[in-house]
């Protein structure tokens, strides 16, 4: 709540010590200042999430200052590492993938040559939905929004010449995450890199797919089983691998506010932790292999506060609620994407500036990996040129601005601390409401979360159209748009699907059919038993069984999710 001049003398509260002369003088000065400002009768201001903003914050605003602590220490408000970027910069990880593995491998090598420090694999929709490229349902989508992966042969080609012992890869993959993880492990093994040494991330977060983005296949219960299987497997065999990246980004891009984004994400995370504990996994072990993923949008300080509050909340949940004692299991490590729904088709070069500010906010918020989207993404996937500029945006921030040099540089700001506290309270209130309604799975099955997000998206769109929310180049400072043909945009190659289908046919011809059959049958039997499916999936993948074949086995046992269609 914004303060008024009248409220200042009461700010110390009845239990506080009597103010001394110096404090009284400060109170009087602030009261005089507030009286002056109140005369201006300024309209109230809010963050994008609707949190009320005062015009000035002073030392009396942040009442939870004693919880601030140091970076690398509980509750990690100031960052998860003691030295943060002075020790090591964030990972620059541009989401990328299109066409077949060959084209995408070339793009990865080129991005690494340009100074990218991690790989983020964009997969096409058939791969995400467990369909082979030659499936009739896949026909229109092969290689379009990401790279097509059908079998291990594609994964081998994808990482050809890229040393997985040195470079980490992150996969935006959910329903079929276990299969992609198995393929990644198999490729690493071929490269001679032991599973203990590989690092990287699979998104593996199905709950948010039910709400937004929509690449679900199986119902919640078997999906959670698969997720816990992968986490359990990684705990045992690949301890440096993030077995899940609990993502708020897609809630956000679907319309959720920053506060809702954080709240829904933590509510999902709680669900996963509970599922792992039910399996009997040790929170101090698997807790280290959880990571998070968000969108950074335009409200700069709100984003910084969101990440600081997220770290503090998660540390508290893991320690107090789940009893994690290992600090690494309390750490909220996260990546971000900058761009998404904040990008505009109008005056598209403005997107470069938006993304730069968003990257700045992310770094001020203590991020571990950043993807800066390219300016042309409202139209198509990026060209090599726009992808380069997006990467350079991060490099300028990292190497020219000196921003990374001091840890949590906004920490201690009266405003940032107050906003962090406020965000924390609001997020906690939403989590409490979700838990009171039966937890995240129940709230997804009833469509409650989907409806809240869609309504927020509509509210935002109306605010833009009524000019209450200014978007430069859209509802202010707009001008007739030039023909889009003036921009050099990416054009997909219409022969991609045919090429990919040919390759799949060749793999099917050349593989050992009996071994495939055997592996798939073993997987089918395992689905009915109380066993971890990862070794069976790994075996199937190594026999060059395709994603479609493996998913058909899983679908037969697990069934498919029934989407609650809500408006």
């Amino acid at each position: 709540m914004a303060k008024t001049a009248d409220s200042i003398s009461r700010a110390h509260g009845p239990e506080a010590n009597e103010p001394n002369a110096k404090e009284r003088e400060a109170d009087n000065a602030e009261r005089r200042w507030r009286e002056e400002v109140e005369k201006l009768d300024l309209p109230p201001a809010r963050t994008s999430s609707g949190l009320e903003l005062d015009i000035l914050y002073t030392e009396r605003d942040a009442d939870e200052r004693d919880t601030l602590g140091l970076p690398g220490e509980y509750p990690f408000t100031r960052g998860v590492q003691p030295s943060m970027y002075r020790g090591r910069l964030w990972t620059m990880r541009q989401y990328s993938g299109f066409g077949t593995a060959r084209e995408t491998n070339q793009r990865y090598r080129w991005l690494l040559e340009q100074g990218q420090t991690g790989i983020s694999v964009a997969l096409d929709l058939p791969t995400q939905l467990g369909l082979d490229s030659d499936d009739p349902m896949a026909a229109d989508d092969v290689g379009r929004v990401g790279v097509a992966i059908d079998t291990l042969a594609d994964m081998e080609e994808l990482f050809e010449g890229i040393p997985l012992g040195k470079i980490s890869a992150s996969f935006t993959i959910n329903s079929t995450a276990a299969i992609l993880l198995a393929m990644y492990l198999a490729v690493a093994e071929r490269q001679g890199v032991a599973a203990e040494r590989i690092s990287g991330t699979i998104q593996n977060d199905i709950l948010k797919e039910y709400v937004s983005r929509g690449t679900w296949i199986f119902p919640p219960a078997p999906s959670l089983r698969l997720i816990v299987d992968t986490i359990e497997y990684c705990v045992k065999h690949a301890p440096r691998f993030n077995a899940i990246s609990i993502a708020g980004a897609h809630f956000r891009d679907a319309g959720a506010t920053a506060v809702q984004e954080m709240a829904y994400t933590l509510a999902d995370a709680i669900t996963y932790v509970e599922a792992c504990r039910e399996r009997g996994l040790d929170v101090n072990q698997f807790g280290r292999q959880l990571s998070f993923y968000f969108y950074t949008h335009n409200d700069l300080f709100e984003e910084v506060a969101k990440y600081r509050a997220g770290r503090r909340l998660w540390a508290g949940i893991m320690r107090e609620r789940f009893g994690a004692t290992d600090p690494r299991a309390q750490m909220f490590r996260f990546g971000v994407v900058c761009g998404g729904s904040t990008l505009t088709a109008q005056q598209p070069y403005n997107n470069i500036v938006r993304v730069a500010y968003q990257a700045l906010a992310s770094v001020l918020g203590g991020v571990q990996s950043v993807f800066t989207a390219a300016w042309d993404e409202p139209f198509a996937i990026p060209t090599e040129q726009s992808a380069e500029l997006a990467l350079r945006t991060q490099q300028i921030l990292a190497y020219e601005t000196n921003v990374p040099t001091v840890v949590d540089p906004l920490g201690g700001s009266h405003f940032i601390e107050a906003l962090t506290d406020q965000t924390e309270r609001e997020v906690r209130a939403i989590i409490d409401r979700i838990e009171a309604a039966g937890g995240m799975v129940a709230c997804i099955e009833s469509g409650m979360i989907q409806r809240e997000i869609a309504q927020e998206a509509y509210r935002y769109q109306n605010r833009v159209e009524q000019g209450e929310q200014i978007v430069v180049g859209v509802n202010r400072f707009s001008r007739p748009e030039p023909e889009r043909s003036q921009f050099q945009l990416y054009e997909s190659d219409p022969r991609i699907a045919a090429r990919q289908c040919e390759k799949l046919a060749q793999v099917r011809r050349e593989r050992d059919g009996a071994r495939v059959k055997h592996a798939l049958e073993a997987l089918g039997r395992a689905t009915k038993d109380d066993v971890n499916l990862m070794p069976f999936i790994l075996d199937a993948v190594k026999s060059y069984a395709s994603i479609g074949e493996i998913c058909a086995i899983l679908r037969a046992e697990f069934g498919t999710f029934k989407e609650p269609v809500v408006l």
């Binding site: 729904s341 043909s485 945009l489």
Partner: protein
Amino acid sequence: MEHDNIRVLIAKPGLDGHDRGAKVVAYALRDAGMEVIYTGLRQSVEKIVAVALQEDVDAIGLSILSGAHRALTERLLAGLGDRAKEIAVLVGGTVPERDIPALLELGVSKVFPTGTPLSEIAAEVRAAVEAKRAAASAT
């Protein structure tokens, strides 16, 4: 008044699951006085045609972000067959400008690329439905 009972089917064909645009447009059309049915995700073209006919809609709004707009739209119009004379088909999403003429040629009433205002979409849907009704009553 006739335009008070415009029935619109908002549909997400193909595999893409980003439905923010579809839902926002559905709300906007509903607020503009139309009756809106939403299919949910990943509907086959055949299913969309079947729902459209069963629900006797005046317009179908296809939301496509994956780049597969041409193929999906072509199949939908083929599926509608003769009924495409009565049912207006509109397409919104990540549609490059250069693809718009081809979609219109196929028989699409209007294309709404990224960034189209909601008020314009509502007005165009109404206009497209009225044009279809006028053409139908003229024959």
